[in-house]
């Protein structure tokens, strides 16, 4: 049933496919998931989950030296009528239900946040307008927690915008009731020096569908863990991602889809473009199909387009299958270069250099952008991609 396709071109792209009796996704982490930062040793950088990340640029998030300051990050929620927006204390029962922190930084965030924001959409409410959450860094360090909860058969779109400067470690929980539909766009459009580490946990109810669109443009270092688990059969998850990694930036997306329940679907598709010296993109795609998860249908894909010399991609899809009774499972990863010969070819047909680059990058992202299904978001992304390309020398 499983098929693997892996075409490394350019920088390192490795993939593996394993049929294992027990999960190594869980065991190859240096510590099991925990809400308590004390359960994680301070990373030294050689651990599997940290080996691609420049620890010295985490501004102390990993070793306990980063101290939160009041007002370092502001969160503003704009929601249509019928949606409840609350700021709650650490003891609120809805916090932490969607997933457990998997590394020291997100555990630090969980152990350190003081107030959480909870946005609730009541059951069967179908929102006509998106919920907008503006997360704005004002300089300094902050630990955050956000919960977005949809009652049964509710439908909502959430656009979460990250901008400004600062150091943010956070957890975001998405709780989808039975039959609920949630689309979340998380845009990381930080200023150049910002550091952002977050775990996004989705817990998908029976017959519910979750669509996540992660868009990373800015920041000095961004490291995100989009994760999915299923609370009942018939759940669907679509994880789309797009990143544009510039000179000196580190952008890391570490996905995990845990197929722990029968007859669920998942599809992950991430695409990134890189340009400039020491632009570094990391993509880890872990899909685990547990023994109980019969009838699973899953596919994951990562594509990278390297526009200039000096950029680096590490792309590691990993599919572990504990049952043969599945509908389908596959993964693909490829990294390609936009090189001088391609440029020559397009220019030899009269197309000026800047336009040639735009053509290639727009084409590369277009297919993914079209899957978002939110016209204003799609337009904004294409504009942002154009703006990124303006910075090409």
């Amino acid at each position: 049933m499983a098929e693997a396709q892996n075409i490394p071109v350019g920088s390192t792209t490795t993939g593996s496919i394993a049929v294992a009796a027990e999960s190594t996704v869980a065991t190859r982490m240096s510590a099991p998931p925990s809400y308590d930062v004390a359960d994680f040793p301070v990373p030294h950088g050689r651990e599997e989950e940290w080996r691609f990340t420049p620890l010295e640029r985490l501004r102390g998030l990993h070793d306990g030296s980063a101290v939160a300051a009041d007002g370092a990050v502001t969160v503003e929620v704009t929601a249509p009528d019928g949606v409840t927006v609350e700021t709650v204390g650490r003891d609120d029962a809805r916090i932490g239900k969607a997933g457990v922190p998997v590394d020291r930084v997100v555990a630090q965030a969980y152990s350190s946040f003081e107030k959480a924001s909870v946005v609730s959409v009541p059951k069967e409410a179908v929102l006509a307008e998106p919920i907008r959450i503006a997360v704005r860094g004002q300089g300094g360090t902050a630990y955050g927690h956000q919960v977005i909860e949809l009652g049964a058969f509710a439908e909502a779109v959430v656009v979460m915008d990250h901008s400004g400067d600062g150091v943010l470690a956070a957890n975001v929980d998405y709780l989808l009731g039975d039959g609920a539909k949630l689309t979340v766009v998380s845009v990381q459009d930080w200023d150049a020096k910002a550091v952002h580490v977050a775990q996004h946990n989705a817990l998908i109810g029976r017959d519910a569908s979750f669509k996540s669109i992660v868009v990373t443009f800015g920041g000095d270092l961004v490291r995100l863990h989009p994760r999915v688990e299923y609370a009942g059969t018939g759940g669907e998850a679509e994880l789309l991602g797009l990143y544009f990694t510039d000179e000196g930036q580190h952008q890391e997306h570490r996905l995990l889809v845990d197929h722990n329940t029968p007859h669920c679907k998942s599809n992950a598709a991430y695409k990134g473009a890189l340009q400039g010296t020491d632009a570094h993109a990391v993509w880890i795609g872990d899909v685990l199909i547990r023994a109980a998860a019969e009838g699973t249908d899953t596919y994951e894909m990562n594509r990278n387009l390297v526009l200039t010399d000096g950029a680096r991609v590490d792309s590691v899809p990993n599919l572990e299958i504990e049952t043969g009774e599945i509908a389908g499972a596959g993964h693909a990863s490829a990294t390609g270069r936009f090189d001088d010969e391609q440029l020559f070819y397009l220019m030899a047909r009269g197309i000026p250099e800047a336009e040639a680059r735009r053509l290639v990058v727009r084409g590369f992202f277009a297919e993914l952008v079209q899957q978002i299904g939110l016209p204003d978001v799609e337009e904004r992304l294409l504009e942002k991609i154009e703006a990124e390309l303006e910075t090409v020398s």
């Binding site: 020559f344 397009l346 220019m347 047909r349 197309i351 053509l359 084409g363």
Partner: protein
């Protein structure tokens, strides 16, 4: 009438930190409506001539001039040359991931024509040209050269030739790797462009086979970086019978 004039062209490439001269004084004039076949053994510099005229950065011009209607071609960037009317059908066209054929053709036509072609007439023009080249319409939605067979790549090059209507068309071994059917289809495409009388054609080939479909006005034998002999179509017959041996051994020097 458009005229491409190549005078005493010298071209070098950098390899292993040394500069190696490949073209050693090429003189050639191609006028609109004429077809010149350039034939020669491997390594004689035929492709270097083609890529130098198109402006490939790998080649350094060390002497001589190239003008198109008096304009200095060597001063132009690659895209300026194309817009001035120089077209190179490549022997090994590269894949361009993420760019569909239809998007590529339209971007190119817009650049060459100076304005975006009107959508309705353009779609029809592309469709009909593709039909004549026996290309499946689904081809337009594929990425440029990605996964194309050798024959598909060459058809795609000639499709561009027909749509872009250059003043000077340089066909670099367009016949190589084609079976007889594909060769005929591709040659018919070239002939349609030639029959307009508005293109000067520089047909670069290793074999005489394509000359049965595309009749040249002039045949030039390329050897050791320059034109060793020029003549009419009958020179091709001589090459067919005798091969390049006389030229390779340096028996003939210009």
């Amino acid at each position: 009438m458009a005229t491409l004039e190549i005078h005493d062209l010298h071209v070098s490439v950098e390899a292993d930190n040394a500069s190696r001269e490949i073209l050693k004084g090429v003189d050639l004039t191609v006028k609109q409506g004429e077809t010149h076949a350039i034939m020669g053994p491997n390594g004689s510099g035929k492709s270097t001539l083609a890529y130098s005229l198109a402006g490939h950065p790998k080649y350094t011009i060390t002497g001589g001039t190239v003008t198109l209607d008096g304009e200095d071609v060597l001063e132009m960037t690659v895209d300026e040359r194309a817009r001035a009317g120089v077209f190179l059908a490549m022997q090994y066209p590269v894949e361009v991931p993420g760019v569909s054929v239809s998007n590529f053709l339209r971007s190119s036509a817009t650049a060459i024509r100076g304005e975006a072609p009107k959508l309705r007439t353009w779609v029809k023009e592309v469709r009909e040209t593709m039909e004549r080249l026996h290309m499946d319409p689904a081809f337009a939605e594929r990425n440029v050269n990605e996964g194309f067979s050798g024959g598909e790549k060459k058809r795609h090059e000639i499709l561009q030739l027909e749509l872009l209507k250059p003043k000077i068309a340089i066909l670099d071994e367009t016949d190589s790797g084609l079976d007889v059917d594909a060769l005929r289809v591709v040659s018919e495409g070239v002939n349609r462009v030639r029959e307009t009388g508005e293109v000067g054609t520089l047909l670069i080939t290793h074999y005489t086979r394509i000359l049965r479909y595309i009749k040249p006005d002039f045949v030039h034998v390329f050897a050791q970086g320059r034109i060793a002999e020029s003549g009419g179509a009958e020179l091709a017959d001589k090459l067919e019978n005798e091969g390049y041996e006389a030229y390779v051994k340096g028996g003939v020097t210009a």
